[in-house]
Symmetry: C2
Subunit: 365 residues, 2 copies
Amino acid sequence: MDVLEELRSYREKDIPYSRVLSSMCTIPHELAVKAHQLFIGTNLGDPGIFPGTVELERKLVSMLGELLHRRDCAGYICSGGTEANIQGIRSARNLKRRKDPNIVIPKTAHFSFEKICDILCVEVRRANVDEDYRVDLAEVEGLIDGRTVAIVGIAGTTELGQIDPIVELSKLSEEKDIPLHVDAAFGGLVIPFMDRPYPFDFANKGVTSITIDPHKMGMATIPAGGILFRDESFLKALEVETPYLTSKMQFTLTGTRPGTGVASAYAVLKALGYNGMREIVKRCLKNTRILVEEMSALGFEPVIEPVMNVVAFKTERAEEIKQELYRRRWVISTIREPRAIRFVVMPHVTEEVIKNFMGEFRRVV
Amino acid sequence: MDVLEELRSYREKDIPYSRVLSSMCTIPHELAVKAHQLFIGTNLGDPGIFPGTVELERKLVSMLGELLHRRDCAGYICSGGTEANIQGIRSARNLKRRKDPNIVIPKTAHFSFEKICDILCVEVRRANVDEDYRVDLAEVEGLIDGRTVAIVGIAGTTELGQIDPIVELSKLSEEKDIPLHVDAAFGGLVIPFMDRPYPFDFANKGVTSITIDPHKMGMATIPAGGILFRDESFLKALEVETPYLTSKMQFTLTGTRPGTGVASAYAVLKALGYNGMREIVKRCLKNTRILVEEMSALGFEPVIEPVMNVVAFKTERAEEIKQELYRRRWVISTIREPRAIRFVVMPHVTEEVIKNFMGEFRRVV
């Protein structure tokens, strides 16, 4: 068997996205795939060799910055939300230079903050959330002390797609002079395209950095994460010298770094434009609504009314249902508090996928 | 202009590899590109969705482990050498749990250790090198104290392609009971295919982790780095819990993570085999020799006799030569101590490329 045939046999064991209702990633857009192919072999880690790809990255960063009300932001396209969150917190930690630093995050923050706590040697303080699973402001304020180097707000929580009160967090951040990092890895390319976009971005003066991942709702190829900063000073706090490269300094976490994600993210955003993205988001929200109706008809109640295209339904049997569906090659996920089954209605989760899924789901429950 | 045409216009501004003699990356092998394309869209960060890709990753890790005399090693395919080095040191730091930890590295270590120092809050102590630019053992021993959590040795230094005395470092590591991390990001896929391979790998009992990057001499597509550990316990020290994914724990640094690098690295190593890789390495070493002869004829003397396909030539005019060549769209690099121009003779640096380069070089000097 030749090696490509062998590889195909492995690939066939993977579960197709048409049976995946749990992932924040999706089938990359066909333009994303074409763009990706043009840039296989590029390495943004050595910018002097790839000046064209570097220029494209700058354009993409400005484009994302414009979407987030700060065209002249600083930042770069990275491996994903974890690197983006690490770099956002690392920058704040380095600028604040406090002994035994801590950060205050919502209890609903992504598990990557567990890694960040370990990697960056910062204490992570978790603030409780209100009945709508938005972080409690009084809790956040109470956890802040003289060693706090960053506050974190989430725009599109992983479990429920909820948006923290960023406007109020921003005021608190300004008042206390503590950087506010917004994890909009998922929501960053959803919220701006909704009918009444919640102001989660740089329009709030306290927001100093934002994680926004084109390889989630931007339908770019993996890896394409994004970390944007209010200005260059935050990037400067990440720099190390780079002898023997074509650049003098490097602020990225990784060294060698593909240009494929830049090209694929750019292709999708440029070709679809704001209107095209609005259409995509609209369809995902409509399909989320359809899922809620179908599930309600079976007696399953959403944990919160979905804010975006993420929704969870309460059930004590969550784990069991997930596992039984997995045995039938359908992938959903669960959350633990409250016990619920969780869905992400990505662009590949079409009406037809939902229909097929509900057929299987009815047999399982 | 349609977006793909626009992207092509950016891509054309990049410098082709046929004019790049400075990079440790290369044109990916054609099988690597084909394999990559089959796995666009895969995400190893959510293993339950991609069981086939996960299985392939395990095979590749074993294959690399076998090459490094430890088939049953633990590890994973990551974004590149920086992530691999971070994870190697982080694991050692977490296992040793010492207050104000430090690591002892050679002065010749890659600049990513600067980032590691900042990111992981470890003090970095730099040991001097001998006249052959191999780390001085007495220096290393003198820098170790009760707070040292790791020793680092390099198998293929970035500047000169030199190999540290890993055998002796390993003895020291066993004697002091301190993990030894070997950065073989470059040399890991060169040394095993040389006529008299230096024993830099797990055959030395003190070696606990090795960085080995298929996207360098493995001709895989970017990103394809590798971090291998002697056993599972080192991976365990990196784990965090992962609710709402198809896995329970995650030891990688990044979350979402492409399977493309796994597929492309596997394709090349499987199809070429050890014999094919030996041929590639042999040709690179032969071309390095040709470059040395051509340069010697012009009066340029190598800093050290090349150990592998990396070579630097002493000249006080290093920066000026590099810049003048860059103006003519040829990329070489420089080192600072001693002042020298540096070359990496990757598979794309053929005899013809060297001939073309030397023509331009003669005009410049």
